[in-house]
């Protein structure tokens, strides 16, 4: 390997933190390797290693973040990278590298921080699991790979880490592999995301063919820099698309698979078969956000060719897919009864919002929702885990109720998470990030439909979350046994996350859009007048109204009623058919079962038939021919080779028998022959001497 360390930007000399940026993913991965070597019952060292390694990563991430922020505060955009050549084949070479810029810095801090909290929470949640060390091994590997995705400066390195992330997701969903449903969910997740990844890989190969590099930034030679972008823009891919658009769409297919966008969302709700911390870390906060992050990372490629206030084909597709996913998943979430499944569909829906934000408003809009969502959705999942833990592994919200008394801390933090997710005005982060998306949708130049759909989605979000909270925390207890509050090791991360679920909104308000300015490298000032601007005020009012409507509708329908588990849902009574459709997840799984899976099953049957009859027949014929040949050979052997050999042996043994008869062991007969011989010899001698 030839190491060409070329770290710098036009503004900055390579800083020491960029030089050691690779340690951020490497430390958890090494820790994971060490944990894998530990013996199974060694719980404490395993947890300590994983948490310690991620703490180191968090520390380094914070240093990197501060470095980027200080650079930005001094008016210089920080984009530092280290590249090296991995493979060199003739004139072509494949380069890998890592990059530190505002986007990476924000994600680094989010992933390592949320990850660390969830690691700590897992110590409590997985306390009684016998595969404790294996769990932390996988978690640590996941965290390392995810951080690797974040700092990659090469699409190839990103793809590698992306696949490790997919692998750990598979391993963790199927963590309780004794459960057939968990094993099936793991396979489903892996195969569905692989389906998107195939397109992603095609996009990578195409991009390499067009530009000859997979590096993002490389002193003007990277694939996201103007020189390469001009090449991919001018080349045509057919169907009115430029190569840039086609590659963008292919990459988006990979992102859609990972981020559970329609029509590849089916794996994400099933992924809730894994342990709840996994659901929180991987399938709500970080991994599913990798798709959104990927789009944000290659945004220059998606955006190239669009004038001001225009949209490219790729971005339009991203926006529409995101919007439809957001509403579709929110609809399904209304009629689910599994506490984690509601959150899973909510995650799909919110990922749709992020994608829509990217497509409609740009990197900062989508990424802001990603960050806020990571915190409050991790909070909600960990809260759900706390509820499940406290209710003796019960997941059906109809068999809960009244937990506000039994689990006050969980109730409080869950309530904060729920209000943040609903976008409750002013004090919750979800409000600001969702408003930014709605505002972008309102001013989108292509169509206005996404705006109305997203507003409707916000209404649904508030409604289904209210329904869930009413079922779980209000009313009276309908489950078995006694519910109890979770230990401090679990509630403490909840409290920290709850704090951030509220506070994070402050860095992205219209009055002080610090986050957006940071990502887009603008300067920002605190400007209270932005609040009072008519367009913001109107939109904020409208979205608040929608949220209140959703909350009110939910409270009116479910309120403090505590329906019995067998009793039909309040909505089911009024619209049973619609309810059945939503409850059965709008039959997407059934649709896939009837089309894709049926097709594959048919293909498998055909292949089986071919195997048995065609290929099997050929094999049988060959076997028969060889059998015939062998029989012929045997005949030759028996009658010819063996015959002559046997004859020879017979002759030898009979002549041996004759000779043996001479040597009969009677000394007297030998002597007799000797005497005769002497007499004969003497006679001959006498006779010859006489002549």
């Amino acid at each position: 390997m030839i190491l060409e360390s070329t770290a710098s930007t036009s503004q900055f000399a390579p800083s020491s933190i960029t030089g050691i940026l690779w340690l951020i993913p490497a430390v958890p991965i090494i820790a994971s390797g060490v944990i894998a070597l530990l013996k199974q019952p060694r719980r404490k060292p395993a947890a300590a290693l994983a948490i310690g390694a991620l703490s180191v990563s968090l520390l380094l991430s914070l240093i990197a973040f501060v470095h980027v922020v200080s650079g930005w505060a001094h008016g210089a955009a920080v984009r530092e990278f280290v590249n090296f050549t991995w493979i060199r084949v003739g004139p072509a070479h494949v380069d890998l590298g890592w990059v530190l810029d505002p986007l990476a810095a924000v994600m680094l801090v989010m992933v390592s921080f949320v990850g660390l909290l969830i690691f700590i929470y897992s110590v409590g949640y997985m306390e009684h699991d016998e595969n404790f060390t294996r769990f932390f091994c996988f978690l640590s590997l996941f965290a390392g790979a995810m951080l690797g995705v974040v700092i990659s400066n090469s699409l190839l390195l990103l793809f590698m880490c992306w696949e490790i992330v997919g692998l750990t997701s598979y391993l963790l969903i199927g963590f309780w592999y004794q459960k057939p449903s968990a094993a099936a969910a793991a396979k489903k997740a892996f195969i569905t995301t692989r389906f998107g990844d195939v397109f992603f890989l095609l996009g990578i190969v195409w991009l390499f063919a067009e530009t000859g590099t997979l590096l993002f930034y490389n002193h003007g030679l990277g694939s996201l820099e103007p020189l390469s972008l001009a090449i991919v823009l001018t080349n045509h891919a057919g169907l009115g698309l430029s190569a840039a658009g086609a590659i963008g769409l292919l990459i988006f297919a990979g992102a859609a698979g990972k981020s559970g966008q329609l029509p590849l969302h089916v794996w994400l709700p099933d992924a809730m078969e894994g342990p709840t911390p996994v659901s929180a870390l991987i399938h709500a906060a970080t991994m599913v956000a990798a798709g959104v992050y990927l789009i944000a990372r290659v945004y220059p490629l998606m955006q190239i060719g669009a004038g001001p206030n225009e949209s490219t084909t790729a971005l339009t597709v991203v926006a529409w897919v995101g919007t439809v996913t957001a509403v579709f998943a929110a609809l399904i979430a209304v009629a689910q009864n599994d506490i984690k499944r509601i959150l899973a569909y909510s995650t799909v829906s919110q990922l749709g919002y992020m994608m829509a934000g990217l497509g409609l408003g740009g990197v900062a809009v989508g990424m802001f929702h990603l960050i806020t969502h990571a915190f409050f959705k991790a909070l909600l999942f960990l809260g759900a885990g706390s509820v499940i833990h406290g209710c003796h592994e019960e997941q059906d919200i109809r068999r809960m109720g009244g937990l506000r008394v039994d689990m006050p801390l969980t109730f409080l933090t869950y309530g904060i998470g729920m209000l943040a997710l609903c976008g409750f005005p002013i004090v919750f982060s979800g409000f600001w990030s969702k408003d930014a998306i709605l505002e972008a949708a309102q001013h989108w130049s292509v169509a206005k439909t996404p705006f109305y759909l997203l507003v409707f989605g916000a209404l649904l979000t508030a409604f289904y979350m209210t329904r869930q909270v009413c079922y779980v925390f209000l009313g009276y207890w309908r489950g078995h046994g006694e519910a109890h509050e979770s230990p401090t090791v679990m509630t403490l991360p909840l409290a920290i996350l709850a704090f951030f679920a509220m506070a994070l909104g402050l860095i992205g308000t219209p009055a002080w859009p610090w986050f957006h300015a940071f990502l887009e490298n603008r300067s920002t000032l605190f400007d209270i007048h932005a609040f009072i601007e008519m367009r913001f005020l109107l939109l904020m009012g409208a979205s608040s109204l929608v949220v209140f409507l959703g909350l009110g509708l939910g409270a009116w329908l479910y309120g403090n009623k505590s329906p019995e588990p067998e009793e039909p849902d309040a909505l089911e009574k009024s619209a049973p058919i619609l309810w059945a459709g939503l409850r059965d997840r709008l039959y997407v799984d059934e649709f896939y079962g009837a089309t894709v899976i049926a097709f594959y099953a048919w293909g498998a049957r055909v292949a089986d038939w071919m195997d048995r009859h065609v290929w099997g027949g050929i094999v049988a014929a060959v076997v028969w021919l060889f059998g015939l040949w062998a029989k012929f050979n045997r005949m030759l052997d028996v009658n010819w080779v063996d015959g002559s050999f046997d004859k020879t042996c017979e002759e030898l043994s009979s002549s041996g028998g004759l000779l043996a008869r001479l040597q009969d062991g009677r000394v007297q007969s030998y002597l007799r022959i000797l005497a005769v011989a002497v007499v004969v010899l003497t006679a001959i001698l006498l006779w010859s001497s006489r002549r």
């Binding site: 040597q663 009969d664 062991g665 009677r666 007297q668």
Partner: protein, 104 residues
Amino acid sequence: MGTPLAGYLTVAALLFAIGLAGALTRRNAILVLIGIELMLNAANLNLIAFWRYGPHPEALTGVMFAIFSIAVAAAEAAVGLGLVISIYRHANTSELDKMTRMKG
């Protein structure tokens, strides 16, 4: 001088022939041994006769040779008889034809 030697040799040849006939025809191992001893003594007789009528009768070579031969024959007879006795004890017979145990 020629006649006495021929007489000795004739006696020796007869003796040898008798011994040979005994060794070939007898079934009892002891009688075969006796036949062999006769043949040996015929040879000894020849040795003495050739010495006595040879070119140097003054040297005692023939006698010495015969005495050695008799000593060896005695040793041989002792060994042979020992074997016969041993076999007799073992197989309860001294008939040569019945000693077939080691026949292949």
